[in-house]
């Protein structure tokens, strides 16, 4: 069922991790549906520990759906395939169990809880184990959140809400960070700021999958890239190669 990637990378060994090391997270032939719509049509990918993977593709290619399926959100429904994270099978879990198994999702629309202050939003993430960064450490990374700790989370600006959503993910002891369009709807100045933050996170060595419309920004951050088209993998290789391969970029990313 899985389509062979059309573009094979010759440059895999340039990635910071050897290809033949056992994958830290592996997604194997997943098929996911929104109701009757068949969105994710047999996606497989591997992520090695400490690696950043950019999951790219045009609108409607199934990037966010793949991410949501990995996070085990109720929608889309996973009908076939397996997802393993650090030897744990995620495919049988619900989202809260996946979170307890080490998935940290920063959703597209950030989902800051209404009626809870910045600090309460962070504390919320530390009710269930495993607990990750201390709240003080999150404030060190995002001093702006520390200044507004008593403010209601939903009254923050878009960029600050994004920081809060990332901070909330870091407040848990995560093995895999899933970033869904972190730059979406943000002013260019804020994008730069979030970009800086993501490079900081990269330095922490947190294994990450990033889904992003802004492909260049994501590729600058990532080690590897997987490109989806109509719910299937069409490229799996290094980020550098995508940046260099104009034909590939043109065909699947329209840049």
């Amino acid at each position: 069922m899985n389509a062979e990637p059309k573009f094979k990378s010759s440059d895999n060994m340039n990635a910071s991790h050897a290809q033949n090391a056992p994958a830290f997270c592996s997604v194997w032939d997943i098929h996911a549906y929104y109701g009757e719509s068949y969105i994710v049509q047999g996606v497989s990918l591997n992520i090695h520990e400490g690696e950043i993977l950019a999951l790219l593709g045009r609108n409607g290619a199934g990037k966010t759906s793949t991410l949501r399926a990995i996070a085990r959100l109720g929608n889309p429904t996973l009908k076939h395939g397996e997802i393993w994270l650090d030897h744990q099978p995620l495919h049988n879990m619900q989202s809260y169990e996946a979170s307890q198994a080490g998935i940290g999702l920063v959703p597209e629309d950030r989902r800051i809880i209404q009626g809870l202050t910045v600090e309460e939003n962070l504390q919320l993430a530390q009710i269930e184990k495993p607990i990750g960064w201390s709240i003080d450490r999150i404030y060190e990374l995002f001093p702006r959140l520390g200044e507004r700790r008593k403010q209601e989370g939903t009254t923050l600006s878009g960029g600050e809400q994004q920081m809060l959503a990332i901070g909330r993910a870091l407040a848990r002891d995560i093995k895999l960070l899933l970033l869904d369009e972190p730059y979406e709807g943000l002013a260019p100045v804020i994008v730069q700021e979030i970009e800086k933050t993501l490079h900081l996170i990269r330095e922490q060595g947190i294994t990450t999958i990033i889904v992003e419309q802004n492909a260049i920004a994501a590729l600058n951050l990532a080690d590897r890239s997987v490109i989806l088209d109509t719910g299937q993998v069409v490229y799996d290789g290094t980020a550098k190669e995508v940046l260099e391969n104009e034909e590939l970029r043109h065909e699947y990313l329209a840049i």
Binding site: Y96, E97, S99, Q114, L124, A125, I127, E128
Partner: protein
Amino acid sequence: MSPAFLNFVEICLNGLMAGVMYSLVALGFVLIFKASGIFNFAQGVMALFAALTLVGLQTGQVPFSHLLNAMFGTEIHNWGPGLNTFISILFAMVIMIGLAFLVEKLMLKHLVNQEPIILFMATIGLAYFLEGLGDLMWGADVKTLDVGLPSGGSFWWEDVTREWAAEGSDYWGMYIDKLDVSATLIAVSLVAALSIFSQYTATGRALRAVADDHQAAMSVGISLRTIWVIVWSIAGFVALVAGIMWGSKSGVQFSLSLIALKALPVLILGGFTSIPGAIVGGLIIGVGEKLAEAYLGDIMNFLVGASPNLFTAIENWFAYVVALAFLLFRPQGLFGERIIERI
């Protein structure tokens, strides 16, 4: 002060205290509705069941004794003199928590992601089941419940208020039932405790998070099912308190489950998702119906020139008419969030 004004104050005070009781029932609805989007039709029956259980424990009644006697011709009634009030309340609470656990395990778990109307139907089923279970376990006779709260009119207050009246008037003083006063105090402390719990504890935060966005809450590792058990336990506790208050006031009988109907107008007024709304809504309904009973009847009789007894028992329908007006002009209630359907 003129006796007419003192009368008015007395009516308002009694209305406020009746309103607190309505709020108490409405609060149970709001808690469950906020956390799970379920309109729990069984809330009133839960209050009845809790009160029945409490009386059963207090009097040492053997559960299902009627059934056993009928089936086997035995004469079982009591296992002993019964437990003391405090321990009975604790046990009744444990039973309500057990009930919450079973509701999650046997009902809600199987209805995840179903339409709200299906969950609502399930709670109607639960209501009938609990009513039947209560009957089988403890019998259908009217029971008196005495948990040692003071009751009867307060002579002290009567004396104090008589002095307020203008000299020479034949004002007798205000009548206030001590049971109503204690019910009010207990309800106020219950609401305060619930607010503190929801504001300052980790579980309270989790409850608020689930109420706002259960997907986001689950994404940080919070299990909906645990939250549901907690919410139903709290609703069970609120039902127990409401059952004790209403049961002490008017006896533990099966019509107690109908107080849930009185909670409906309160909810329509206050909004289904607002705890302050449930409280203010209850108070408005309580005061409103007492005032309407006292004054509206006279006004209407005067207007149509009818005999003085044509418009009476306004208390019984006033709340529903107010609710109807709200449904027409402000369907989200006083404090509810505006319902915006996204298409």
